[in-house]
Amino acid sequence: MQLNPSEISDLIKKKIEGFDLGAEAHTEGTVVSVTDGIVRIHGLSEAMQGEMLEFPGNTYGMALNLERDSVGAVVLGSYQHISEGDTVKCTGKILEVPVGEALLGRVVDALGKPIDGKGAIETKETSPIEKIAPGVIARQSVSQPVQLGLKSIDAMIPVGRGQRELIIGDRQTGKTAIAVDAIINQKGTGIKCIYVAIGQKRSSIANVVRKLEEHGAMEHTIIVSASASESAALQFIAPYTGCAMGEFFRDRGEDALIIYDDLTKQAWAYRQVSLLLRRPPGREAYPGDVFYLHSRLLERASRINADEVEKLTGGKVKGKTGSLTALPIIETQGGDVSAFVPTNVISITDGQIFLESNLFNSGIRPAVNAGLSVSRVGGAAQTKIIKKLGGGIRLDLAQYRELAAFAQFASDLDESTRKQIERGQRVTELMKQNQYSPMSVAQMAVSLFAANQGFLDAVEVNKVLAFESALQLYMKTEHAALMDKINATGDWNGEIEQGLQTAIETFVKTHSW
């Protein structure tokens, strides 16, 4: 791109015009010690909790411990150039990050600065990273669905707009895969997505970005990255940064989906910062406020009513509710959900998607454990047709789990037990789904309907997925109108039931798989 010289001088002129020549008043302090990114500062008697502090060399820090004669602060970024005796200034501002539409499609760090090499981000607004969650009066209950595009989740553990649904499981169980599929499925729905990567390898973050670009999902997505190589302070604030960016959409009457990948690492980073600040350690050496760390973050994911949106936008947006849906991710060690951080986050969220490594290894992917996974509020938001058809699936799987232990005695079992086991095996098989291939409501409805009506019972277990894909192809080519109708309304009625029944009957008679 050719730079126009007049543009540059104009820009400078504008900046000089806007330059405030008034005497600048601030509070100053002196650095007493620097240890592992924690700075003790003498003075700064007027510093606020969480205030941004200015260090020499264009470096900023955040005041965390306010003591009688000193302030304990974390440096946001590198601290090698800060030494004893340096002057520190108060800025009078709580830490703020840029927010707005311009961030969509970009990769930013925990302070909202672009790191994708695509140039500056033209945002007009900034927002403090720590905000109080909306009050009781401002809220509305969850009633619209967020389709994650995964059969097993949308049918059994539905997520609504404004809900907090935990994704929990050991390493290598496909937690991030669910999150990425969820983002890809939001293409064209108007839901803006924010993916916050905390303490991950840079290569994994690059992979996620590339996959989202490949599937055209970056246009509606912001990636906030605080990789493992960045300071603990940045890893600890990254979720709040992402949340502030999501709240911007929520407060304007839009819907947003935020994924925190993962909060275990954020708790580790916070533990590090707290211990270095000499706060007393508690259980598993976490500080006393690690519950509040997560509860205040997840409480900000909410659905707010139209009145509140109108108030927040100054009357510009009327009659629209806003929502921020959160999918926090927690990594467990050896399936232990009773460790400190997992129990905390389980109790804060509105349900959890529990992933198991033995399911994953036996080829059931997504490796959702249908028995332990719940959604406490999503049922109210589920699409009618999925709600109607998904109930049967849940029941089939529950009965199957009880009887699965007897499966090896199949020949000695009575007729009804054997049928239940066979149904369960087929439904389990049907719940498998490939990565990066989210399904629409209509596609899910077809698969679930086929299972409910017993069309699968005649299919061999290892042919179930082949049957499904052939059926989906048939429905797409021969019954496009019916599918469009289901996708448009999501309603369930006799006409649709009849349509599906006859379509699948014809398919079974005329096609092979």
Binding site: K15, F19, E24, H26, T27, H42, L44, S45
Partner: protein
């Protein structure tokens, strides 16, 4: 530094309370200033920090040096500091004591750095303006600092009012980045 200030505060508060009771804050102020000046001597500070020197010998020495400069109460205070091995705190105690004294008397010690010295008139006008801004009587201590290029820089405790050309240039540098 901050830890020392925390340690010095109870001593300073106690001295200040006593000084107010007896109405002898000026005397205490002088005594503390004297102690600060003798403690800044390097051979004496080496002696103080030597663990081989017993408390008795140290207090004897300190008392003999300050004979005639401090009264009985001052001597008692000195003995207490020696006993607690807190002689290093004296400069901080003096500083906090002066802060308490200034606050009690309703004025504020202000360091003013200016590129050029004030005229008599200018000084009066400036101190009146500062008094209005800070809401307290000010005790101006003017230093000429050519590196400021122009304007003034005011320091009152932690608070800094930067109206110097140098400060504004730095400010502008950041704004143009």
């Amino acid at each position: 530094m901050s830890e020392l200030a925390t340690l010095a505060r109870p001593y300073a508060a106690a001295v200040f309370k006593r000084a107010k009771e007896t109405g002898s804050s000026e005397k205490w102020s002088k005594a503390l200033a004297f102690l600060v000046s003798i403690l800044s001597d390097s051979s004496l500070s080496a002696f103080i920090n030597n663990p081989k020197v017993s408390n008795e010998r140290l207090s004897e020495l300190m008392l003999s040096i300050s004979e005639g400069q401090i009264d009985t109460e001052g001597a008692n205070f000195l003995k207490l500091l020696v006993q607690n091995r807190r002689l290093n705190l004296v400069p901080h105690i003096a500083k906090i004591f002066e802060e308490y004294k200034a606050e009690d008397e309703g004025y504020l010690d202000v360091d003013v750095y200016a590129a050029y010295d004030f005229s008599k008139e200018g000084r009066k006008v400036f101190s009146a303006k500062l008094e209005k801004r800070l809401g307290k009587k000010v005790n101006m201590n003017v230093t000429v600092d050519k590196s400021l290029i122009g304007g003034v820089l005011v320091r009152a405790g932690d608070k800094v009012i930067d109206g110097s050309v140098k400060g504004q240039l730095q400010h502008m540098q950041k704004a143009l980045q």
